[in-house]
Symmetry: C2
Subunit: 431 residues, 2 copies
């Protein structure tokens, strides 16, 4: 039984707001089971109540008046997913001043006013959390403010704008020009009609400002972050970089040493074997270098309805867990119904099989016959490394998805064939 | 001023214990500034007080009697970094039963008795945290139990044993045989004299059992996890896998569907463009697939004194923050002394320069002269894409580390040369 509810007022019912409303309503029981408390959606602020929306919210919850959330004593937490600085910042301040916990996805407000808002939260003894403001579903903010806190952070380096990373990935792999790649990103809905905020690094600078404050406990105003956009890159830059052993990525970097911070956003050459060079498409990644943890990298979806909702609801869970109740909620709430633990026989996987066989005609036919009898479909066969002296060859077979038990039985039968010296290896292929 | 101290008893002063003792003593002030509370080392349990140790701990703190920690009412939290199941598990139970918070790095105990220990902690209203038991400095446990909690987790896949990953990396890139690579890992201290626990996947199965419990809230006993070691892999498997577009990695995988879990540890083929295929050497990585966050990957050092200490102290920070005091500690405690924010002119970086120049002798000499005058050392020069019609060529120059202001001034001067049509691009190289 939930020991105490957390009543939530949601401000904004766009893409992310719709996701949050859906999860709180549809997965309320699952979350309540996990944390021992219910996160209850109470009211939702919208600008135009008649606008059609993807999220189903009961009529009575909808309001156009922010005071119905800000002045409602039953609402303990406000989720702001409106975006923009105004009136969002004003609502955030009002909510904190009214003693409400706040969860926001607003990178611009957090970059410009984060330190003041956090101080305000502290004065009013409430939480202000903003995991969704940077890196979408990647839990970078929680990690910087909690798990990695024993570290003196030396640097934060990240690919934190999915739009530019998508464009750069197209330029690198499809040799698209910048205008072509931008057009494609716009067609796919990854870039806006006016792409300035993304391609000129403004969005990334807001996010870097937020990360730098957490990493160094030191304000780095977005206007003090040096910025270069990606529009000057040409196809040959990618080619030359590749020849020199580098990828080109738009990086947001902040590092600190000797009581000074340096922060910048620009396209940079990254060695191809570095993990950041391997972050492609709309993915984001952030690498934190700490005095103890060394380099820790986080990689995931940096935007979108579901990943951002994951971050917002994660923050609400954090607040619900830290509420004073009858004691701390369980770290893990075991399921009442025990799940079966499946044996390996029930695994469905693709397989890699290496066989040592007689180098003579008809061998493959015999093996294929056995596999076919057990519904194991062959994806590829390669004959390798013939040994004329011993009259043997190595046969490498990959299969489509098959059941482990069938593959094991087939390999037992195969190993009994006169033409098969041994089944040298059986490995699973993990897609 | 700290509103309340957290007094800690440390059990074990080996590699990790030494790291924890050092950080709590040397960085006590920095941590206290960040969280508003002091984490105070009070007593340290050792087996042999005369053994020489790397960590300096005051004589009076050392004890060989566990009761001096377990029965001391002033000690609120016990850190167990002794390893092994006995007497560690007994001490953990005793500490929890005595109402003390517990932080442990003990994957074996957590895999075998984690659910019971967590229930015991819950009954006694204390925290049991174990970030250090899986993935070293990678904050995977905190993320599964907190930030990602809004997700229904579908799968956890990881490279969670650094020893085997080091061996497989040597086999893949240096074409070493398994015995050679194992010997090398032993020589470097990555593998033990008896490597069974690592190479047969026993260590990884313990860790996977811990991860699966957090991901699915469902116990998956380590003995129910299917295991295959890496000793049967041969050099040609890596070659064939590579030709087919795969890397071979020892993966620990648990996935859940329809009320059943499947968990296994084995070497598997992973597509080369998957992030897990790029995890090399002693690094670890864990990928969580959640219903909302999609695939989030965590990458970092999976073992070693500092990364493990980062995790242990991070758990202590978590406990200190959740203690009831005069209110929640600040999420970010800003530094009293403001740091300078350096301008881009002060950046030291390597550079990539692309110039469009006249295709004639002596051009490079003129450019090199200007760079040399400003102490900018050239790393590489490549002439690319000569255009005979326009009598131009592209010159790509990379530099060693230089100061941004010098490079910008030099490029201004270079662009004024009669033989230079334009400085087409200037990018930084981020190593």
């Amino acid at each position: 039984m939930p020991s105490q509810d957390l009543n939530v007022g949601l401000m904004g019912l766009g893409v992310v707001g719709g996701g949050v409303a859906a999860v709180l309503q549809e997965q309320g029981d699952a979350i309540s089971r996990k944390i021992g408390r219910r996160i209850q959606l109470k009211k939702v602020l919208v600008r135009d109540p008649r606008r059609p929306r993807s999220a189903q919210v009961p009529e009575g919850m909808i309001t156009t008046n922010p005071e119905e959330i800000l002045a409602d004593p039953e609402i303990q937490a406000v989720v702001e997913v409106m975006g923009g600085t105004n009136p969002a910042a004003r609502y955030l301040r009002a909510a904190l001043a009214a003693g409400k916990h706040v969860v926001t996805a607003n990178k611009e407000v957090m970059a410009k006013e984060g330190p003041e808002l956090l101080a305000l939260a502290q004065r009013h003894n409430v939480h202000l959390l903003f995991e969704a403001s940077v890196g979408g579903g990647i839990p970078i903010i929680g990690c910087l403010t909690n798990q990695l806190l024993a570290n003196e952070v030396r640097s934060v380096r990240g690919i934190i704008n999915g739009t530019t990373n998508y464009i750069l990935t197209r330029m690198a792999y499809q040799h698209a020009s910048f205008p072509q790649a931008l057009k494609e990103a716009q067609d796919r809905g990854y870039a806006e009609a006016d792409p300035t905020n993304d391609v000129e690094g403004i969005d990334a600078a807001y996010k870097l400002s937020v990360l730098a404050y957490l990493a160094f406990q030191q304000r780095v105003p977005p206007e003090n972050i040096y910025r270069e956009g990606i529009s000057r890159l040409e196809v040959q830059d990618f080619r030359y970089a590749q020849e020199l052993g580098y990828a080109i990525k738009s990086l947001a970097i902040a590092n600190a040493a000797d009581g000074a911070v340096q922060a910048r956003v620009y396209p940079a050459l990254v060695p191809v074997d570095h993990m950041l060079a391997k972050v492609d498409g709309v993915y984001n990644a952030v690498e934190v270098e700490g005095s103890l943890c060394g380099r820790v990298l986080f990689h995931g979806m940096g935007a979108g309805r579901e990943p951002t909702t994951s971050a917002v609801v994660g923050d609400l869970v954090e607040i619900a867990r830290r509420m004073n109740g009858s004691g701390p909620p369980p770290l893990v709430a075991p399921r009442e119904q025990a799940w079966a633990v499946k044996p390996i026989d029930d695994l469905y996987s693709r397989y890699y099989l290496r066989l040592n066989v007689s180098d003579q005609p008809g061998v493959l036919a015999q093996i294929a016959h056995i596999l076919g009898d057990r519904q194991i479909s062959i994806a590829a066969v390669v004959q390798k490394d013939t040994n004329p002296a011993e009259q043997t060859a190595e046969l490498v077979i990959t299969t489509h998805t098959a059941r482990e038990a069938s593959v094991q039985q087939a390999m037992k039968q195969v190993s009994d064939l006169g033409v098969v010296r041994q089944v040298s290896n059986l490995l699973r292929i993990e897609e």
